[in-house]
Structure formats: C-alpha cells, structure tokens
Symmetry: C2
C-alpha cells in the first residue's frame, strides 16, 4: 500500500492548516482549477457533476411547487440598477462594468448582474396587469459576478453559479408564505440530500439583503467551527414594486402594488460539503449527491475471470446506483486513494479469492468499515449501506454541530467559548445595532441568525445588559 | 367563435410581412420579451421550457458519446484572447469589454466571452500531459455575448444561450471523427426532434470559423426561403495547440501537439422552429420538443361531470404525454386560439355531449384535422397522432425545402431562381474566393455549404466559367 500512503500524504492535514487542506482537496479531487482571470474558477467535470445533481434536486422541488424557469439578460443598465435606493447602495461598489461594446464606448455603462432583482422588476412591471396574472413564480439558473477582493474556490469567487428565484404576489401574506416555503426547500436540500444540518432563522437588520424587508437564512457549521450561510430567502414587501411601479388591478378594480420575494443558492454549497464531511484523505460525498456512488476496483485484474466478474457486477448494480468501474492499469492501492480523495461513498473490491468465495468486499468511505458480502445479497446490501452512509453523515455532522454550539450569558464567557472551540454561540440580544457592532468588534463574531426556534437562555442582552427578548446565533463566518 | 377570430387577427400574415409575422409570434406566443438592454432577450417560461427540452435532448446525446460538462469563467483577459491570431481578428471587433471592477479601473481589460476556445485551451495546456489524458471531451452550457448592430429575438442577439463543446485529441484522425460525430448529432437533433430537415456540408474558407482549419455546418431553409445555419462543428487541427502550447507525451515518450475541435448550438434553434413550422395562427411545435403536447379544453365546463371527466382524462394521458388542462373561465374559442398561437400539437375537447357518447374530439395543430375518438381508445390514439404529427412536420418541411431548392448553371439563371422563389440554389464553384465574392455581390447570396452529398450539376464554375469540381449550396441567409 505504498502508493496509497504517498497519495494521501500529498494533502495537508486539516488540523495543521484548515485553509490549505481545503485548497488541497479542491484541487486534488479535481473539482476546480484556477482560471487565468483573478478570482474565477474553472469548474472541472467532477465538480460540475456535483453541481448538476444539486440543480436536478432543487429544480425538481421548484417545479413541484409551481415555479417556472426563465432567462434574463446578464447586463443591467446603470440607470436600472439605481432604481431601488438600498439595493444600489448594497451592490454598486462590487460590480463589474462594461463600458465598451464592439469598439465603441457605450452611452450608458452596463453592469454584469450581481443579482437580478432589477431585471425581474422591470419585466414584471410590463407583464403584470391584473390579479389574474398573479402569482408570478419565476426562477433562473445563471452565473453572477461580484467584484470580491479576496476569493476562495466555491466559497467566494468573482463569478459563481447559482439560481435566483423572483416572485410577485397579490398580498403580503402570500409573499411571506413563499419566503418561508423556499427557505424550507433549501433546508430540505441541505439536510436530506447534502447531509448538512442547518439552523433556520432570520437575519438582523444589519445583515439583511440590500433592499429587503426581511431576510431568512439557513446557517451551518464547518469542521473548523466557522459558520457558512447556505441559502437565503428575502421578503421585499412592496418596496421594489413601488420603485419599479409594479401594480395590478385587484378583484374590485383597485390598483395595488405587488409583494415580492427572492431566494438563492450557489456553488458555495459544494464548499460547504467539503468542509462539513471531508477528512484528511479528501472529500466525503453523501450518496444522494455523489456523481459516482460506488466504484468497482478489480483486484489482480489480469487473472482470468476478474474483469468479467467486475463487469457483471457493474451491470447489476447500475440498476440501483451510479457505478463506475476502474480497470485502468494503476495499482489497486493507488485507485483506492484516488476515489477516497474524490469522496466516492462506497468501494467494491473483487479479486480471484473473492470470486472463489462468491463474495465481494465493500469499503465505506465515511468510516472505512470493511464489509464482506455474498454476491447473492449484493444488490440489497449496497442499497442498504448507501442509505446508511447518507444517514450517518447527517448524524455525524449534527453531533459535531451540537458539540460546537454553546450558550453564553456574559461577553467574557462568549469570548472564551468562541476561542476554545469556535462554533455557534447562542446569546441574548436587545435588538440594538450598537450592541451587534460592539459584539463583532470585541469577538470577531457576527450575528448569523435569530433562529425560528427561540429559547430564552437569559433575560438580558449579552452586550449592554438591558432586557432582551431575542436569542441570536453568533459565529465567525466564511 | 368571435373571440377566436379577434385573437388570430392580432398577428400579421406571413405573406404580407414575414419579419413582422415572426416578431408577432415571438411576442404573442410569450416566448420572449424585449429587455431594457438593447438587443437582449428576456426568455419567458414558455420559451425557456422549449430550450430546456433542447438541452435535455442534446445533453443526453453528448453524455452518451462520452462528453462531460464543465464551466469556464465568463471573462477572457485581452492578452489571452489575442493568443491565436485569426481567432482574435474574428472576434475582437464584436466583444463587450469590462474595464472597471468594484469602482477600480482594471489593469487589463476583460472581454465577456463571445466563445471560449481561448479559455479551454488555457485550461487544457495545464491539465494535459500524457496520451493517457486524452481525449478530453468537454462541453459547457452558458451564455455568450457578441456586440451585434442589428438584432432579432433568437436569430441574432447581443447575448444568447448555447452549448459549446471543446475537445482535445491525440491525432488528427480522431479530431476529424469527433467533428463529424458532433455534426451528425446536431443533424439528428434537428431532424428527429425539431423536425427540421438540414443539409450537411463544409463551409468555404471565407465562411469558416475564425481560427478553424475546417468548419462543418447544417443548413436549413425557412418559410421565406432564407437559409439558417443551425449548428456548426469546427476542426482546429493543431493551430490552437501551437498557440497555447498544448502538448502531450505520446506512447514513445515523444512530445506531440493535440488536435482540437469545437462545436455549438444556440437558442437560434427556437427561431428556426418558428420559421419552419409556424403559420398564420402562430407557432407550430413538433411534439417531441413541445412543453405541452396536448391541451385539454373542457366545453361547457359548468355542466355537471365535465371538469371531473377532463381531470380523469388528464390523469390518464399524463402517463404518455405532457398534458395541460385549461379550466380557466375564458371562452373555449379564446382558449383554442391561445394554444394554437403557442403551437401545442394536439387539443382535446370534451363536453357533455362527448361524455354521453363516450368520446372526445382531438384537433391537430398542424393540419387542423378533427378526430372523434372513443374514450376507450384514447391513450393509443393520442400516442399515434402525436407520432404522426412529428413525422408529418418533418415531411412537410422536407417537401418545402425541396421545392425551394433549384439548380443553376448560369449566373442569370441563378439570379432569376433566387428572385422567383428564394431558397437554396445549387451551383458549381471553382474554389476561388474572388468568384464567391462576386456571386454575393451580384445575387445577395452567400455560400451556405459544400454538401457532403456532392452532385456534378455542371462542369464549370457558375461565375468564371473555369472548370469546377465543387457543388455549393447558395442562399440568402439569416
């Protein structure tokens, strides 16, 4: 197993240098390559296949809840971006500007969309007239650009892939229902498909989306205890509708403004999976999202019958799983490492001795358990083990998150807990922006969310000591 | 049927003004809306659903032939674009330039990709080392930008959606095979799914892609006799490999340049379908690509049992087709027109009298044939009729193309035929660029392709009279 060891040693240990471990995994698992343009990614086939699976799952849930896909232009004229005051203030400093087209200077600059609220609003103002036109439940899959100063693959890049939903409703109630519905869909994707446990809650005024009345979020914890925002859903009220004059005639013939929402998830989710499930051998993928769920490695494949048997097993297992067979001329040990690095949930080894015994060896990626299975029971066992891996990963991540979540009732305790184990600190907050700023300054932690599941862990604000009603999850964030 | 008539009259007749008819269909069928940015489209749900079906079909064929999806950045640094001389000459005059990012002027301008050869080459130069790394068969789905002066929805827009395949091979033979394979896949999509007959052939030197050794194309004819290029596949030889230094070590340890191809299809295909199948009532969609294959219109739907029966039929037919039921409170005649405008291949009418007789009425969109079907045979009949519509549309389009394709042996005849019926003119060409230019100047027709199926319709060049070996399809093009 010399090759195996050499291969594994090529990545930095996560305890030694978590950031370098992350970069190593991203490169060695062949998820991305750095592009010539600063801060942009080349998403390689294996990384893109993960994204395609995320897309497939989300898109299905969107369509099942009545959403339709559309495509808006990638350019926003400066005057359009400026129509909603808070929105332009939030985004203008970080956009890319097109100033020339076809050798001519443009009369008006165009920004490359950082997000498309303004385009959807412009379109809605043209196509919505009557209550019969509502709701409009649109989504688009595209890339957006934000001119970030420091970037990291998947987590923060100049350009990233995402979906952005934009909806218009007759009433405030319907908009609020939609905002919640989509946040729940995001939580379902994270927990049931990506095996990432999340805390659902609302952002503070300070942390909400530029132009929103309220922003809801799902927050998760990485291996290093830092928090990652996995998806957000915004209720705009009628703010954008007033700025863009999106009105409809109601059943009584009265003109009304629509109420709007938007919600988005990005390629950042791939970064989240790496940092929640990965280990020192590389990526660990939950079966439901893995492009390859089971890899077959023939052992002593030059011996008669081995490749044939491996081929048969592939054919059989393809009925229930995404299977790959690697019959290249690399050493088995080398192959083991390669698919461990790529996080393939289950490995099947089959050699002459196994064939003799009518068995195969299954090796789980998550806990390395070796399972000897009779070939007669293989199909049932593989399905069972894949399901168990999916559940175990979520369970393990949930345990890790719980262990890294603490309660603080004083700022000293807050700081100590955060330094000791990094993670979520739950603490009461009075609601004042000044306290939120002070906590960040003194601890480096930002408010992640006010969770839907509130607890009263104390009666006073952890910062100013005044009466406090709100429990907040705080954390250092990506 | 007063409503029906009014609705239909809202679009211009195609004999009166073909361009206006096209624009009317695009708008009234709710395929696109004009965006605030000049020359860009908002692709609406119905238009995007057609694109999703095109994507699904193509993507499956790509994957079945071993291709993998990736994602490259949308920006290309000016210095990278300039690496291949012919390529930059072809594209630089029509790109959009980003000069500022996040309030700062960039040290190097970035163009928004008009196509991504340079990015793929840059990436390939990093990841290809050995013959074991070949072939690389990559594809990406994205949007690209070309700064066109005059634009029309789907046919020519500043930004459009497409896929671009980019492959690298060990040998010239393999690259040529790939180029042909992908052209054939494009032809299959057009003929078998979109019901658009195409002529396969090679572009002349003048018409080939900037940087290619050879460009292959599939060309089709629209209702108005103008030609439309539906997809192209390029063989780059080792030109890009030399410009980007993409080398691999062969089995003998010798350094070799790779041979490359690229191939693309765009949202323009939706424009082609409109102009090949549409009529004065609007869009006509081939069943295999139609988002809705059958629409159920309940007649006298307030009468007891009608909506229930319509619902039952929907449930039954959903097993074999994409079905929608329209039980809104509009008049049936109005609904008929609306789904005719949207090109839904088959309409099912069901009213109290039909229920009494245990029958339904099917109405074909393509030829308006009314078919009374016993409900006991409905499933079989619907499948049968949908298949027949698909075949009839291709047959009809093939007949129209044949009728509009003529042979000319003198320039006078060429001009007369082109003026009489617009369409393809087949004529011999000596191979000289001067003759190609002269023909364009005198007739307005460009060389569409040198078809794979060559015929010798004359022995001399239609322009200069010198001996000529090449048959060329000429036509006025979109």
């Amino acid at each position: 197993m010399g090759n195996d060891k050499k291969f594994v040693e090529a990545i930095t240990s996560m305890d030694e240098d978590f950031a370098q471990w992350y970069t190593d995994v991203v490169k060695k698992a062949e998820l991305v390559d750095y592009a010539t343009v600063r801060g942009c990614m080349v998403i390689r086939p294996y990384g893109y296949a993960i994204w395609e699976n995320i897309q497939k799952n989300l898109d299905q849930m969107f369509k099942e809840t009545g959403h339709e896909n559309v495509y808006m232009p990638m350019f926003i004229p400066e005057s359009l971006l400026e129509k909603e005051k808070d929105h332009v203030e939030g985004f203008a400093p970080e956009v890319a500007w097109v100033t020339h087209g076809g050798n001519q200077e443009l009369t008006e600059r165009l920004c490359v969309r950082p997000t498309s609220e303004t385009l959807f609003c412009d379109h809605y103002s043209k196509i919505i007239q009557s209550y019969k036109d509502l709701p409009k439940l649109y989504n688009q899959w595209c890339s957006v650009v934000r001119w970030e100063k420091t970037t990291r693959p998947f987590l923060r890049t100049l350009e990233f892939l995402w979906q952005e939903g934009h909806t218009a409703h007759a009433t405030a109630e319907e908009a609020q229902e939609e905002t919640t519905r989509m946040l729940n869909i995001y939580a379902t994707l994270c927990e049931e498909i990506l095996a990432i446990p999340v805390v659902k809650g609302r952002k503070t005024e300070k942390e909400k989306f530029a132009g929103a009345e309220a922003t809801y979020t799902i927050e998760s914890l990485m291996h290093d205890g830092k928090a990652l925002q996995c998806g957000t859903s915004h209720n705009f009220g009628d703010g954008f509708a007033k700025a863009f004059n999106i009105q409809y005639t109601d059943k009584n013939g009265k003109l009304q403004y629509v109420h709007q929402t938007s919600w988005g998830m990005t390629t950042r989710l791939i970064g989240a999976m790496i940092m929640v499930h990965g280990d020192n051998s590389g990526l660990v993928l939950p079966p439901k999202i893995a492009p390859i769920q089971l890899v077959i490695i023939p052992v002593a494949q030059h011996k008669p019958g081995v490749l044939e048997k491996a081929g048969e097993l592939k054919e059989e297992l393809t009925k229930i799983a995404r299977v790959k067979i690697d019959d290249s001329d690399k050493m088995p040990g080398w192959k083991f490492s390669e698919y461990e690095m790529k996080g393939v949930p289950l490995r099947l080894e089959i050699g002459p001795k196994d064939i003799e015994k009518n068995q195969a060896v299954l090796v789980r990626r998550d806990n390395r358990e070796k399972i000897f299975v009779s070939l007669d029971e293989l199909e049932v066992k593989v399905a069972e083990v894949l399901e168990d891996i999916q559940n175990s990963l979520l369970e393990k991540a949930r345990t890790a998150q719980n262990e890294k979540t603490s309660i603080a009732v004083s700022l000293d305790e807050f700081k100590r807990l955060l330094d000791e184990k990094t993670g979520f600190v739950k603490a009461m907050w009075c609601g004042d922006r000044a306290c939120e700023d002070a906590i960040k300054e003194q601890t480096g932690a930002t408010s992640r969310c006010m969770p839907f599941e509130q607890e009263k862990v104390d009666s006073k604000c952890i910062c100013c000591g005044k009466p406090a009603e709100k429990l907040v999850y705080w954390g250092r964030a990506y």
